[in-house]
Symmetry: C2
Subunit: 172 residues, 2 copies
Amino acid sequence: MTNEAQAVFTDLERELISFFVNAAQAIGLPRSYGEIYGLFFASDNPLALDDVIEKLQISKGSASQGIRFLKSINALNTTYLPGDRRDHYTAETSLRVIADGFIKERFKPQLKDGTERLKSLKNQYTSSELAPLKSKLENIEAWGKKADLLLPIVSKFLGPKDSKSKKTGLAI
Amino acid sequence: MTNEAQAVFTDLERELISFFVNAAQAIGLPRSYGEIYGLFFASDNPLALDDVIEKLQISKGSASQGIRFLKSINALNTTYLPGDRRDHYTAETSLRVIADGFIKERFKPQLKDGTERLKSLKNQYTSSELAPLKSKLENIEAWGKKADLLLPIVSKFLGPKDSKSKKTGLAI
DNA sequence: CATATTGTTCATTTTTTATTGAACAAATTG
DNA sequence: CAATTTGTTCAATAAAAAATGAACAATATG
């Protein structure tokens, strides 16, 4: 008796998920990532891979990859549940934590890549070849530096890592 | 005698274009947009639609749409060229100008959309229905507000709109 | 005003990206 | 240690996005 209960959402849940699907697509992420985060966000209790598959009716592969990505940017927290061998997760709700994760995993590598391309470009050509573009090149180099300086400012602005902002003295 | 001169780039030009193709894809824009901006960036003189088609060997449609988008975010400036009826453009090199344009055209509308979805969601349900999610909902509402406050800070940080930063007294 | 030039639009095609699910590996259980 | 549970991987497929180019509108030219 395989209990394949058709997942049914309340209207509210459906709309919340749709909200995050929309948000995901806005920042260039697959819709399934938005669905998954939305599901966790709307849920009161920790969920496992199976729950995601069953409730969202998506494939095992999608669910697995989506959860992995969301973990990688710290949008999902791992929860221990006694007596259950499966991994369980809950939605991280601190914007700063998620933004930091996203920046570190997605944005910084791109920035680094661009900086390196520029550097190798400059090394590869003689100053006279580069001369006509010199000021423009220096300008886009400055872009990278500015972006790098900006990121920690953005992060701080987005608030505390701990939404309750308690000073625990136990910073990790 | 239709002069369909096969466009040939120097290595330097090719690499510069490739740099911007990469950057475009990093922020979720079509590669053709990156190619086009790169072409203008690498060029000393203003170019017209035809030049883009010929040099990049892309279709009229792509070139037209790419130029339109780049104009819309102020990444291309329109230039008047006496004795030529075609529109000519040059690359804008102020990061702030481009970032502002991108934010205004791409980011803000998404943000507004998200905010409105949330508002309608809150209006649509009774407080008791929303109660279990109250704090979480308030939290993501705060995300939107923070993002809104952050944008002008980011903008200012990215530097002057006029790369020479002259005080002309002619602010428009 | 007929013709040529310039640029846009949008249905079709191509390319890219996301999703699926079967096969697999790893860990756990009895 | 065989059977089961859990999660990952990745080739195949489906879906979405970008590029093409012919048809079109708008403007200029002679």
